[in-house]
């Protein structure tokens, strides 16, 4: 490539490149604004998605226990543990 040819190629690339970057991003501005408008009006009717996503289904059914059940559980646990401790001590005297 001759030197002056290189110059014109460079100049061409600069104009084409910069022009295209602007066209591309302008289009992106337009369609993004448009998309935001559509979604905002759509969400007025159906509500927004939760930020952390839709909770995934799991195989384990979560056990929703009342405070009373918890207290009962703790009581049972304490009885069992103290019995175990008692047995251990009586063996290792």
């Amino acid at each position: 490539m001759t030197a002056s040819n290189l110059m014109t190629e460079g100049l061409n690339l600069m104009l084409v490149g910069m022009g295209f970057v602007f066209v591309f991003l302008t289009l992106l501005v337009i369609i993004t604004t448009f998309m935001s408008k559509i979604i905002t009006s759509y969400e007025k009717n159906v509500g927004v998605l939760p930020e952390e996503g839709i909770p995934a289904p799991t195989a384990v059914i979560s056990q929703a226990m009342s405070a009373k059940q918890h207290a009962n559980d703790d009581k049972n646990l304490i009885t069992i543990l103290s019995a175990a401790v008692h047995k251990f001590r009586s063996r290792h005297k």
Binding site: E9, G10, F22, L25, L27, T32, S36, I39, A56
Partner: protein, 377 residues
């Protein structure tokens, strides 16, 4: 005795050339900058160490069959590493600020002028016979102005593999220098009252918009510029994984372990290009100077574009966020924020600056696509 001579001839002291010595020192300098000065340590530590390894005399780590050469062929020559990194960057990017104010995309577009101005600079230097850059070399040097490491490496590997070492080093060191390069330019181009401009609070962006945006961008790229599809496609994929919130495990891997693993090998592979015969060349000096120019011009154009937008639209835009249009996420946005706070301690620009910042990433990937398309054709 023969054995002793043989052993002596195999030592590094016997085999070392002055060039290799200098390159080992340069590798050490990069390590010093990374460790002591905290310049992009995540990349400069592997690059610097790779540079030292590549120049060990007689070991041939960077020659065909050597381990660094293998990393290079597998990851950079094929284009895979920069693209995987781009996917990770996508998974770490939040398009919220950009969607709240899409006009900031113009700032990201303007800052790409640095790329093309530098390309022109390199061409002019060759025209006057100061350097001997071909058009593809010039394009690869210009992309330093995109201030985006993976994009620079991707373009350089496609257009000017010989210059890759110098381009990658220039690109990452200037990214680390953003807090020093940008403020004087920003101060020179704005008045005190412009720096005090308060921007309106950003609106809330819903999750649905964030999910649709990467798909929209992907379709636009597919229609208009398939040459940018490798870069932006991976970027959009990473971002979609993050925003759709149903593949958290994939998204976490992409933005943590995967990007870290690839960074290690990318750094070492770039380091393998720091061999004496390629790097110790007047061209490297030219690349460093032009790269600096690219950064400065990009910053200036971003700021000027913000001032023009201010005249055209009602919503006030603080010109300081224009400089964030040269990607360098999130460093450039932090610089804008800091400059804003200097003029008015209650003016927080960080979130506003993140808009042009991610727009810059898109802009430089588009510019990269055009360069590859134009020169490949």
């Amino acid at each position: 005795m023969d054995k002793l001579i043989h052993l002596w001839e195999a030592t590094g002291i016997h085999q070392i050339t002055p060039g290799q010595g200098v390159m080992i020192l340069i590798g050490m300098l990069l390590l010093y900058l990374a460790i002591k000065k905290n310049f992009e340590p995540l990349l400069l530590v592997p690059i610097g160490f790779g540079g030292v390894l590549a120049n060990i005399p007689g070991a041939g780590l960077a020659e065909a069959g050597g381990i660094l050469h293998i990393f290079y062929t597998v990851g950079i020559e094929s284009g895979a590493f920069p693209l995987i990194i781009f996917m990770g960057v996508g998974a770490m990017t939040d398009f919220g600020p950009l969607l709240a104010n899409p006009k900031t995309l113009f700032l990201g577009a303007a800052a790409q002028f640095g790329i093309f101005a530098t390309l022109m600079g390199a061409v002019v230097l060759s025209y006057y016979g100061i350097f001997d850059f071909s058009l593809s070399d010039a394009a690869a040097i210009g992309i330093i102005g995109g201030a985006d490491g993976p994009t620079s490496i991707y373009v350089a590997s496609k257009l000017a593999p010989d210059l890759l070492g110098a381009i990658a080093v220039a690109s990452y060191s200037y990214m680390a220098l953003v807090p020093l390069i940008q403020p004087p330019i920003m101060r020179a181009l704005t008045s005190e009252s412009e720096r005090k401009i308060k921007m309106v609070q950003q609106r809330h962006v819903s999750q649905r918009e964030k999910i649709v945006f990467p798909l929209l961008l992907l379709i636009l790229v597919a229609f208009l510029l398939p040459d940018a599809a490798p870069l932006l496609g991976m970027f959009c994929f990473g971002n979609l994984m993050k925003e759709c919130a149903v593949v958290d495990r994939l998204s976490n891997t992409t933005q943590n372990s995967l990007i870290n693993t690839v960074t290690i090998f990318l750094g070492l592979a770039v380091g393998s290009k720091l061999s004496a015969d390629k790097f110790l060349d007047l061209q490297t000096l030219g690349i460093l100077v032009l790269g600096m120019g690219a950064f400065a011009i990009g910053t200036a154009c971003g700021v000027l574009m913000a001032k023009i937008l201010n005249k055209l639209i009602k919503e006030p835009i603080n010109p300081l966020i224009g400089s964030a249009g040269v990607s360098a996420v999130p460093m450039a946005a932090r610089v804008s924020n800091k400059m804003g706070l200097e003029s008015d301690p209650h003016n927080f620009l960080l979130m506003h600056a993140m808009g042009p910042n991610v727009a810059g990433v898109i802009g430089s990937a588009v510019a990269a696509g055009i360069l590859i398309n134009y020169i490949g054709a």
